[in-house]
């Protein structure tokens, strides 16, 4: 039953840096929901509050005001260590800079999140995660012995190794050439088809276009994007803060057939169900 709860539910979230006259409102009244099994792209130019939103979604930071429920659990007022636990057990990060430790081999990098929790079989789990991204033949390689695309695949394996409820990818293709980018997006799409909940943060409309749903952010305000490229080009908010309600309705049933571009079939839902028992015991 808990599976019916959205993975991400932001209610009127605000983030302000500094105070008084110099206060910077990085996020204003952000209300949004990400359902289980969704692939959501958040698009916005630099300085739009995109990074702040990503930090909040990734439980790296807490909002100044408003509520953030992660799978029904309020994480908006959690302590540092509790947030660390949430990140460790429920969120997988993929960064633009890969952030691999250069002195550790591929599998040692993938193993990292498992070091901060109990339980053994770390090598096996790391191997399985690397196999998921097709790097089973590169496990002992150091990051600098791998191409950029391969490094990012190692990073994806590291995000997957804990079998998280949410995969948070921050400009995952930002440092990659076109071929490698396509490779990474393919993997993300495949993971989505397998039932993963993925939030993809990008400034590139073409990349956002691969997602079934797009949200754009500008000057700290989030708006549901009708069609990505159009909304980005015009830069005009299509909806106001009232949007979430509309979006929720849309995302509930008719969304996948209408907004999914090209190859994303309504498959995600049937596929999502068998996955659930696996992610719960974590």
């Amino acid at each position: 039953m808990s599976d019916d709860r959205p993975v991400i539910q932001l209610e009127d979230v605000e983030k302000t840096y500094g105070g008084g006259e110099t206060a910077v409102h990085a996020l204003r009244h952000v209300t949004m929901t990400v359902r289980r099994g969704e692939l959501l792209a958040i698009i916005g130019p630099s300085g739009s509050g995109k990074s702040t939103l990503m930090n909040i979604l990734g439980c790296l930071d807490i909002p100044t005001a408003g509520r953030y429920h992660f799978s029904g659990e309020d994480v908006s007022r959690m302590s540092d260590d509790s947030l660390a636990r949430v990140r460790n057990e429920r969120i997988g990060f993929v960064f633009q800079q890969f952030h691999l430790l250069k002195r550790l081999s591929a599998w040692r990098n993938v193993e990292l999140p498992l070091l901060y929790r109990h339980g053994g079989g770390r090598r096996d789990r790391a191997m399985r995660a690397l196999a998921m991204v097709g790097l089973e033949n590169r496990v002992e390689h150091l990051p600098n012995e791998l191409s950029g695309g391969q490094q990012q695949r190692v990073a994806i394996a590291r995000a997957l190794v804990t079998d998280p409820e949410l995969l948070l990818a921050d400009e995952p293709t930002g440092n990659l050439d076109t071929t490698s980018s396509a490779e990474i997006l393919d993997i993300l799409n495949r993971l989505h088809r397998e039932g993963r909940t993925i939030v993809l943060i990008t400034h590139d409309p073409d990349i956002a276009a691969t997602a079934e749903r797009v949200v754009s952010i500008r000057d700290g305000e989030v708006t549901e994007g009708a069609h990505i490229s159009v909304s980005h080009l015009t830069g005009q908010p299509v909806a106001t803060t009232a949007a979430p309600r509309r979006r929720t309705r849309r995302a509930a049933a008719p969304a996948p057939p209408t907004s999914a571009p090209a190859e994303a079939p309504p498959a995600p839902r049937p596929a999502a169900r068998p996955r659930r028992p696996r992610s719960r015991p974590e």
């Binding site: 800079q97 952030h99 002195r103 990292l112 999140p113």
Partner: protein
């Protein structure tokens, strides 16, 4: 993160930067080696001094005039008063009064010029009685010691120390030869055994003559009744305490001193000398070790420096680890452990270097240095705790870094 994982991560990090780790450990290494070496030299000095004093005869009790307790009022310095008499010595020689005293030797001494033929030598001339030989735990190499008869008759005979004999009669037998002490002729009747002392009052370099002869003819203005000190010997080391009491009681009585703290004499046993030497060399060792400890401190600051650099360099690693679920405690422990590992490596190498240096020093220089396992262990412990202590600040800085700040600064 489990303890074992922290260890593994720390080791990987330290071994990943071998050159830097070694240089950092060098500070600790030198500090620990210096502590071990100075403590070793101190212990060696103590051992050799103690050895020499023991060679003089540990059962020896010396009575000197004046007082070292100097409570209040004007007191003459140690040995300056002439309150000890031949009568005191004679009284102490009474077995019924002092049963734990087996030999008594009243002594007067002066520096004298000694001439034998063309050889000229300056050495202490000691006037005493046959008890001197027993009290000082000495034997004869050749000839014989003078007797009570010689003392009573003021004869001009002399017994030479081994060094003195060698200086005056190089490669000759001195027995039966005549020497001049302060221009007075003395016949050499014996040579003392070699005990091999050095430094203050070399027991092998002196000429011993009958007490009365020295009092009457060698000491200017000397009297036949007063002596400079009285040497006594207890039969065993255990009897020293009893002998001390007997001598003290008797002398307080004969000198008519009611209160022991105002006594006009002072009794010294080898035990008290040994304990004084012990405390002096101990203080000296502590001083040296303290200086060496400062270098250990400097080494610790080096560790802190490197750890701070390391934290700055690895900000993005810290951010990543935090993003992946590392808690503050995990990061804190990781950096603390790295600092402790660096220091422990330095400490271990320092112990090896200290051991090597003490061995080399003992083998190739006249200094004696002893390797003290307890000093090594202490040095190692101190090194590790310095590592942890100086690692705390950088580690706290690392642990406090916010994940987002740390990630962005990549």
């Amino acid at each position: 993160m489990s303890f074992f994982q922290t260890l593994a991560t720390g080791f990987r990090s330290v071994s990943g930067q071998r050159m830097r780790s070694l240089l950092t450990a060098l500070g600790i290494l030198i500090g620990v080696a210096a502590v071990i070496l100075t403590v070793g030299i101190g212990l060696g000095a103590r051992q050799s001094i103690t050895g020499r004093i023991t060679a003089l005869g540990t059962n020896l009790i010396t009575v000197t005039p004046g007082s070292t307790t100097g409570a209040g009022g004007v007191r003459t310095g140690l040995g300056a008063a002439s309150t000890l008499t031949v009568a005191d010595a004679r009284a102490l020689d009474d077995q019924s009064v002092a049963p734990d005293v087996i030999a008594v030797a009243p002594v007067v001494q002066r520096s004298a010029s000694i001439v034998a033929g063309s050889q000229n030598w300056t050495a202490p001339a000691t006037g005493s009685t046959p008890g001197w030989l027993v009290a000082n735990n000495r034997t004869m190499t050749s000839g014989s010691f003078f007797t009570d008869t010689d003392v009573a008759a003021h004869t001009h005979v002399a017994v030479l120390g081994a060094t003195t004999a060698q200086k005056l009669f190089p490669n000759q037998d001195p027995i039966g030869r005549v020497i001049a002490i302060q221009r007075l002729p003395f016949k050499v009747i014996g040579v003392l055994n070699l005990v091999g002392g050095q430094g203050f009052s070399n027991p092998d370099d002196q000429a011993v003559v009958p007490l009365t002869t020295a009092q009457g003819e060698l000491i200017s203005g000397g009297s036949l009744t007063t002596v400079q000190r009285i040497l006594l010997s207890a039969p065993t080391r255990d009897a020293i305490g009893a002998a001390y009491q007997e001598v003290n009681t008797l002398l307080l009585q004969t000198h008519h001193v009611g209160n022991a703290s105002t006594a006009d004499f002072s009794i010294t046993t080898q035990e008290t000398i040994l304990s004084t030497v012990d405390s002096v060399t101990g203080a000296l060792t502590l001083l040296l070790a303290g200086v060496a400890g400062i270098s250990l401190l400097v080494g610790g600051i080096g560790v802190m420096n490197i750890m701070l650099v390391s934290v700055t360099e690895r900000i993005s690693e810290i951010g990543l680890r935090k993003a992946l679920g590392a808690r503050r405690g995990d990061i804190l422990r990781q950096f603390l452990f790295e600092a402790a590992t660096l220091s422990a490596i330095g400490g271990l190498l320092g112990v090896c270097l200290g051991l090597l240096c003490t061995t080399l020093l003992s083998a190739f220089t006249p200094l004696t240095a002893l390797f003290s396992p307890s000093a090594a262990l202490l040095g190692l412990l101190i090194a590790s705790s310095i590592g942890v202590a100086f690692g705390v600040f950088p580690a706290i800085r690392a642990a406090r870094l916010a994940a987002i700040v740390a990630l962005r600064s990549a």
